[in-house]
């Protein structure tokens, strides 16, 4: 168990006590609309099962998950496939956007991942109509490596998404702390 502390945030694994906050955020259309792969979590029971599954996968070294707190839970980040080239997913509650909080959180999470796991690169994605997510990823050192049309369950539509990738070496020199 590791708790990451940044200048403004506390970042820790999701717990059962977070289920209510997670349910509120995941019921927000503005959040779900931006998630390329939102899990099908329609209530606190589903979310509790998700937390439990996340814990199991983290203990097995397969994945990690983090809840992001600024006194209360404001976002989530996940890394799936830690034994290969993991995929980063994340969301921030809209009320907290525009303040650099997600960049601060992801910088700490990626630094921790590169430090503790033999990862050469991290993959992610952003919808073509979500330039804020793409800007955030580029700020952290991600580069667009392709695009595709993919079915979005949350939008119930086919959507264009950019595929992105962050190399360990690039992050080491262009992550927020290094760039500052």
């Amino acid at each position: 168990m590791k708790i990451l502390v940044t200048r403004r945030l506390t970042i820790r694994p999701p717990l059962e006590v977070d289920c209510d906050d997670l349910a509120v955020h995941l019921a927000d259309g503005a959040v779900r609309d931006r998630l390329p792969c939102a899990p099908d979590l329609s209530g606190t029971a589903d979310i509790a099962a998700w937390v439990k599954d996340r814990c199991r996968r983290a203990c097995a070294g397969e994945a990690s998950a983090w809840t992001i707190h600024r006194e209360r839970l404001i976002g989530v980040a996940t890394l799936d496939g830690l034994q290969g080239e993991p995929k980063l997913g994340f969301f921030l509650a809209p009320a907290w956007s525009g303040r650099g909080l997600m960049a601060e959180a992801l910088d700490a999470i990626l630094a921790h991942a590169f430090e503790t796991a033999p990862i050469r690169a991290v993959r992610s994605a952003a919808y073509a109509d979500d330039p804020a997510s793409l800007r955030l990823q580029e700020k952290l050192g991600f580069r667009v490596v392709g695009s595709r049309r993919a079915w979005s369950a949350t939008r119930a539509a086919t959507t264009v998404e950019f595929l992105t990738r962050l190399d360990r070496d690039v992050f080491a020199t262009s992550g927020l702390a290094r760039a500052a």
Partner: protein, 195 residues
């Protein structure tokens, strides 16, 4: 990983408490031979400035009083913090008995600050409080201007519970932040063993 053992009784210690060992630290009841170092480290005004109950000036009498409290267990469990390999005194930490739980406190001598010792000692005491003592919750306070202490509490899983004023021995009434760590949060965090 924390090991809690009953140590050999140090000279002159009638009621030695448990000893808690972490990767780099050893928390134990201090003895008479620790007085000089206690006075040197705890006597620094910068330490007393951030703590509610640290007297200043801090001399031999204050060190003896601390040792007596630690030995008797009066008011809670009080430890001196030592380096595990060199045995050098680094600071102090304790769990003060409060209604329905305990209050966590800690300090690290100025020459040893900035190396994560406070976090390591605090996490060990948190585990001791919930794991060995079975407490239902822990409280903690830090001055609003004490960023380092706030980070320690966050790293232990404490959650912000409010701000207020608190009386201190050196600085009078000061603005503080109040933090709480519930047993269920600690239990949840302990189940996560992955990275």
């Amino acid at each position: 990983m924390i090991a809690t053992t009953e140590p050999e009784e140090p000279p002159g210690s009638p009621t030695p408490g448990p000893e808690i060992a972490t990767a780099r630290l050893r928390l134990r009841v201090p003895g008479e031979h620790d007085i000089a170092e206690l006075v040197r480290l705890a006597g620094d005004r910068r330490i007393a400035r951030m703590l509610a109950s640290m007297p200043h000036p801090y001399g031999t009498a204050e060190a003896r009083a601390f040792i007596a409290r630690a030995r008797s267990g009066e008011g809670g469990r009080h430890f001196a913090v030592f380096g595990r390999t060199d045995g050098a005194l680094i600071g102090g930490a304790g769990l003060m008995t409060r209604e329905g739980g305990a209050e966590l406190g800690y300090w690290i001598g100025v020459p040893c600050q900035g190396q994560g010792f406070a976090t390591e000692a605090a996490q060990a005491l948190v585990d001791h409080a919930f794991g060995d003592l079975g407490l239902p919750n822990l409280q903690a306070y830090c001055r609003v201007l004490n960023d380092a202490s706030r980070r320690v509490l966050h790293k232990c899983g404490f959650q912000f519970a409010g701000t207020g004023m608190r009386d201190t021995l050196l600085s009078g009434s000061v603005a503080t932040e109040h933090y709480v760590l519930e047993r269920r949060i600690w239990t949840g965090l302990k189940t996560w063993t992955g990275k």
